[in-house]
């Protein structure tokens, strides 16, 4: 039995690097410090029956196991025969594999896109428009005294973000609010018990806790207290909102209006309306005061902004608000990146091609245009005639119509387990679990590169993403050289 410390969690953009993993007979049997998702993957999921152990090719409608050489040749044949393939995914792979992916896209003259186009693509576009005042998670941990989660629910998507980097962590200059949160929970629990007892004893007793309603309550006095404060803005109450000092429930698709109203209030301008996006202006004024009066504030935003009406304009106005706040105090803003290396995909694509996603190589050089070369748009227009999906699952995350278009052409998948897209593949490659069975680089949500660790040996005969892509690339080059040779011979005969 071996205990390995400082293992990096390969799930979300937090890349928590304090896991303690116990390995016995080349199997992870115990894990400490991780969240429930980490436990599900590291202790159960990675070794489940859903694991793909052999390459497969669809023959007469059914997937049959084949040798690695046959699968690599078939995949390379599909990619070279296609006029315009799409290479999509990359977010759960290492940056080393992503680099080979760019090489493959250039060789094929294909489209190259990553999962960012259906999560924080609009955030990237907004950043390109007006820049982004940001910082590392370590800075937030030690210094931030006002944390705003806008349109995101880290308790579900990044379970340790609050505990490790923001309100509930013990920083060098800011204290953890965990104890006061626990006291608040105890207080609420006691109040519920008193109410329940009173209801039993007294007739017509009115409970002290007002019934929940779809309205925004006035900010509590604690919004002006010292120490760390957490504000959550969302269209629905979530577990993160339950833990916050103040929750603002906004109407769906009204984030832009509220962010713009806050810009006015931060600039000491008056608003001629009583409510904005369902929130009374007087409450927004108190939030603006809390923003201006903090020492170090941060806005973390999620897909509620990038996927709602306005898309990248929502992010643009949020960044503009942050920029305005920096005239009065210190404020930063950061997207809550989802997959553990989706940031890496943007970084690697940007330093190899100049563009972070939505890239086209059909002209022999990289071009960039979200809305044209993004996966959903390409599939919707049926532009591509083959697809390679690596380390992601558009089968479970793309709208049905675009997936139906994807199915009209050959599909190659590279994933460790039978997720939705692997089940639909025509050539299905197994691969090693990145960050469990092989090591490599991943970029945390704040663009800090972190080395993932290998803790167990992979099953025999299974390659990692980088090795597999390199083999496909070599085979593609071989097939192209043979084709060029044949074309040359035909030309010679014609002469």
């Amino acid at each position: 039995m071996t205990e390995i410390k400082s293992v990096v969690c390969p799930i979300c953009g937090c890349l928590c690097d304090d896991l303690e993993v116990t390995v016995e007979n080349n199997e992870i049997v115990k894990m400490k410090n991780g969240c429930s998702q980490c436990e599900a993957k590291l202790v159960h999921g990675y070794k489940s029956e859903e694991r793909i152990l052999k390459p497969m090719i669809r023959k007469y409608g059914k997937l049959v196991p084949v040798s690695m050489d046959e699968a690599v040749h078939k995949a390379a044949e599909i990619l070279t025969d296609a006029k315009y393939p799409l290479l999509f995914g990359w977010s759960s792979s290492t940056s080393e594999a992503q680099r080979v992916g760019v090489e493959l896209a250039e060789e094929l003259g294909s489209a190259l896109d990553n999962c960012c186009s259906v999560c924080h693509g609009p955030s990237v576009m907004a950043t390109q428009e007006i820049g982004i005042p940001s910082c590392t998670l370590g800075q937030i941990r030690h210094r931030a005294d006002l944390i705003i989660y806008w349109a995101c629910n880290p308790w579900a998507s990044h379970p340790r973000h609050v505990e490790r980097y923001t309100a509930f962590t013990e920083g060098r200059f800011e204290r953890s609010e965990w104890k006061s949160y626990m006291e608040k929970l105890k207080g609420e629990s006691s109040m519920k018990k008193v109410d329940a007892a009173s209801r039993r004893i007294f007739m017509n007793y009115k409970p002290q806790i007002p019934p929940e309603a779809c309205t925004v309550n006035a900010p509590p006095q604690t919004i002006h207290k010292g120490g760390r404060k957490m504000i959550v803005v969302d269209v629905r109450k979530t577990m993160t909102a339950e833990a916050a000092d103040y929750f603002i429930q906004v109407q769906p698709n009204k984030d832009y209006e509220i962010l713009d109203a806050l810009r006015c209030l931060v600039a000491d301008q008056e608003l001629d309306v009583d409510t904005v996006g369902g929130v009374p202006v007087e409450y927004l004024r108190e939030v603006a005061d809390a923003m201006v009066n903090c020492n170090f504030g941060v806005i973390y935003f999620g897909l509620g902004l990038t996927q709602s009406a306005g898309r990248f304009r929502n992010i643009e106005v949020a960044i503009a608000l942050t920029r305005d706040l920096n005239k009065r105090t210190k404020f930063v803003i950061s997207p809550m990146r989802g997959h553990f290396n989706v940031t890496g995909a943007n970084v690697v694509f940007a330093w190899t091609t100049g563009y972070p996603y939505a890239i086209d190589f059909s002209q022999g050089y990289p071009q960039y245009n979200p809305g044209e070369f993004t996966a959903i748009d390409l599939l919707k227009r049926e532009d591509n005639d083959a697809t390679l999906v690596i380390s992601s699952d558009p089968g479970a995350h793309f709208p049905k119509q675009v997936m139906q278009n994807m199915m009209k052409h050959p599909l190659i998948t590279i994933n460790p387990d039978w997720n939705a897209i692997s089940r639909l593949g025509d050539v299905v490659f197994p691969t090693q679990w990145c960050g469990i069975e092989y090591e490599g680089t991943a970029y945390r949500m704040d663009q800090v590169p972190i080395m993932l660790r290998k803790v167990v040996e992979p099953p025999p005969g299974i390659l990692n993403d980088e090795e597999l892509l390199r083999r496909i690339l070599d085979e593609v080059r071989l097939i192209k050289a043979e084709k060029a040779k044949k074309e040359g011979e035909i030309l010679e005969v014609c002469k």
């Binding site: 259906v118 779809c214 897909l303 979200p370 119509q401």
Partner: protein, 136 residues
Amino acid sequence: MLEQKLHVILITGRTIDQGVGKETGKGSQEYFDSAAVCFIDQADLNKLGIKSRSNVRVTSKYGSVIVRALKNPYGSNPGLIFIPCGLWANAVCGDETFGMGMALYKGFMVDVEPAPKESILTLDELLKLEFGKEVQ
């Protein structure tokens, strides 16, 4: 007064159970139980005359799907339903990107109606129905 059908706003997104389910395995019971669901406000459940854990049909202009209705666990959101990210949510999400690459996942109108006699399709059944391929 009971209503046959409710016209509500749909939001899709993450839940902790869906996260645990997807990491356990897309074919797992955990994933099915956490992703093939729809969180509906108690007031809306009352309007439809159904109880939590009964089946409902969610229909948008892009498609239709049967999911299990669950009572919204936090706060109150009448007129707004939530389906966790996954194949069942995708059945009703739109492919319109408005020139930005991002599909329509949040903030659009759908209809919800009780479907007590219809069953929820599993991942494999839904894949076969939507894409016509034999799945592994």
